[in-house]
């Protein structure tokens, strides 16, 4: 190939990349940079230029107890949803992978919540959680037990939101475990059976370690979802009562579009971006050490 032809190829390649590059710059890189910049400035009043304040916005944010409450909520939300949905997903996959009567139906039942919009799922769970006419309290009432204010009581509300999220998410993770289980060679099980290994120790000694890459993959997805998906809060609690169920991204939304405080919104967004950067590093270092694509 002549040098000229090589140049031409480079040019073609660049042209092919151009639409994606333009769009990614406009809607991913540029907003990321301006978010960071905005978090370092205070907007000027009446057309005056914005004032550079360094990390002052961060100091203000870190002095704000509400921010810490929201950050803690998000941590509890992550700790509440992730291990539970991963454990359930693994259990579901093991159930469905075995000889089970009505396997097709059971698998569908587990997976269906995944394809619903979060908003629809929240609507449905609202019927369960509503204080007076909700199904849970009606059932409790018929047993003579006083009802619980599932979404209105600050000490229960976050747990109620977590339960709904687990329901929505577990089936999605199940399919990855199921695919991984089906790729485990059956000879391993046969050999273990000959050795008289119990099912319990076969699971912990063979299956579970072999599923480790899947667990890491699922874990990373779950981590991302725990900061990215807040749709259900719009229906269930709106972050209340008294911020008891507020999560970081919802707090960004509130600051930007209810309090019209774009500076605080930008500052919290940077915190979210840092969390995502940590998750991304985790993915590219731990997970991709096993999978090599070229």
């Amino acid at each position: 190939m002549t040098l000229n032809a090589h140049r031409k190829m480079q040019l073609y390649g660049a042209l092919l990349l151009l639409p994606a590059a333009l769009l990614l710059t406009t809607f991913a890189y540029l907003p990321t940079v301006t978010t960071v910049i905005n978090s370092l400035f205070l907007p000027g009043f009446r057309g005056e230029p914005a004032e550079f304040v360094g990390v002052e916005n961060y100091q203000v944010l870190f002095d704000d107890p509400t921010f810490w409450q929201v950050a803690r909520n998000n941590l509890i939300y992550a700790l509440g949803t992730i291990p539970t949905s991963i454990a359930l997903a693994l259990g579901m996959a093991l159930f469905v992978n075995g000889k089970l009567p009505g396997r097709g139906f059971v698998r569908m039942a587990y997976f269906t919540p995944t394809i619903l919009p979060m908003i629809a799922a929240a609507n449905i769970w609202m019927f369960f959680y509503a204080p007076q006419i909700g199904l849970f309290n009606s059932l409790l009432d018929s047993l003579g037990i006083p009802g619980v204010n599932w979404l209105g009581d600050p000490s229960v509300a976050l747990s109620s939101v977590i339960v709904m999220s687990v329901w929505k998410e577990a089936g999605f993770f199940m399919i990855f475990y199921l695919a991984a289980l089906q790729s485990i060679p059956p000879e391993l099980k046969e050999a273990a059976d000959l050795e008289g290994t119990s099912r319990w120790s076969f699971f912990w000694r063979v299956t579970f370690p072999l599923l480790m890459p899947t667990t890491l993959f699922v874990l990373i997805n779950a981590l991302i979802n725990s900061v990215r998906v807040v749709d259900h809060l719009f229906i269930l609690t709106k972050g209340g009562p008294n911020n008891a169920t507020n999560l970081l991204l919802y707090y960004v939304y509130e600051n930007a579009f209810s309090f019209f405080d774009r500076t605080t919104a930008a500052t919290i967004t940077v915190v979210i971006l840092i969390v995502l950067a940590v998750v991304a590093t985790l993915k590219f270092t731990i997970l991709d050490r096993r999978t090599h694509y070229q």
Partner: protein
């Protein structure tokens, strides 16, 4: 009944088929019932008068009134149209933009290609909805507020799409490309006649994932739209069923089913393709 006792679990395998359901089967089914229950309940609530919301009587009269109520109280026809336009537009845009970029990454000698590719992959973590504040500002600069284009455009250059298609394109043997070149095809013709047809399964998988993502997407469409003309179903449903509007619950239930019906039906019909697609798009 020819059931075996629990102590004989380890006996000849054929006896398993006539035994009482094992503990595992019971647990699996119990979990399945818990998992479908919310959806079944939504069906119950939607097809019965509202006084039967928590009163499960076998003889409760069936009704379609909740659906007609929902349909007349909010412009669901318009929402359907908007969601349909949004999903179609996004998927077509993604197919074009991601195909071109993936082709460039797979076959062209671009300087700094690996760094550029890593930059693209960042978008797997930094989604448009995380940057709602700044993306809102950008959308309004571009005059895209309250348009369907405004909802969809930030998602068109999708890192996932570029990644999946690049992986597929790389597996296609160069010999096919050379053959096409001898026939006199230029680069775009090679892409269109060799690469795209061979990547059909990837397009199907990515397309299904993308359709379900955009059918269900909420927070960015909520932020960027402010009227019936551009709101998709999810936002319409969110506005309609917000607790403070005091809409009857049976009606909300019907509205919820209306908004999920097309995707749910598609899923039930093409379960295998959906699950395969999610798997394919997930293994990355």
């Amino acid at each position: 009944m020819s059931s075996t006792s629990s102590t004989s679990k380890m006996v000849a395998p054929h006896s398993r088929f006539v035994s009482v359901p094992s503990l595992e089967t019971v647990a699996a089914w119990l979990l399945a019932i818990i998992w479908v229950f919310p959806l079944l309940y939504a069906f119950w609530a939607a097809f019965h008068p509202s006084e039967f919301m928590v009163n499960f009587s076998l003889f409760a009269p069936l009704t379609l009134e909740n659906f007609t109520d929902a349909w007349s109280q909010a412009p669901f026809a318009r929402y359907y149209l908007n969601t349909f336009a949004l999903v179609t537009g996004v998927v077509i845009g993604q197919f074009i933009v991601c195909t071109l970029a993936a082709f460039a990454f797979a076959r062209f000698p671009i300087p700094g290609k690996n760094v550029l590719f890593m930059l693209v992959l960042i978008q797997l973590f930094v989604f448009p909805e995380v940057l709602i504040v700044e993306n809102y500002a950008i959308a309004s600069e571009l005059g895209l507020i309250n348009t369907i284009t405004g909802i969809g455009l930030p998602y068109v250059a999708s890192a996932l799409g570029i990644f999946l298609l690049r992986q597929t394109f790389k597996t296609i043997p160069r010999e096919l490309e050379d053959a096409a070149r001898i026939e006199g095809c230029n680069w775009l013709e090679i892409l269109w006649k060799v690469y795209v047809p061979l990547a059909k399964p990837t397009y199907l998988a990515y397309g299904l994932v993308s359709i379900s993502h955009h059918w269900n997407n909420f927070i960015w469409p909520l932020v960027v739209t402010n009227s019936v003309e551009s709101r998709p179903l999810t936002v319409g449903l969110g506005v309609f069923s917000a607790p403070e509007t005091g809409v009857n619950w049976a009606t909300v239930s019907a509205a919820t089913l209306l908004s999920i019906a097309p995707l749910l039906v598609a899923f039930l019909l093409f379960q295998r393709q959906f699950v395969q697609s999610f798997l394919r798009a997930g293994i990355r």
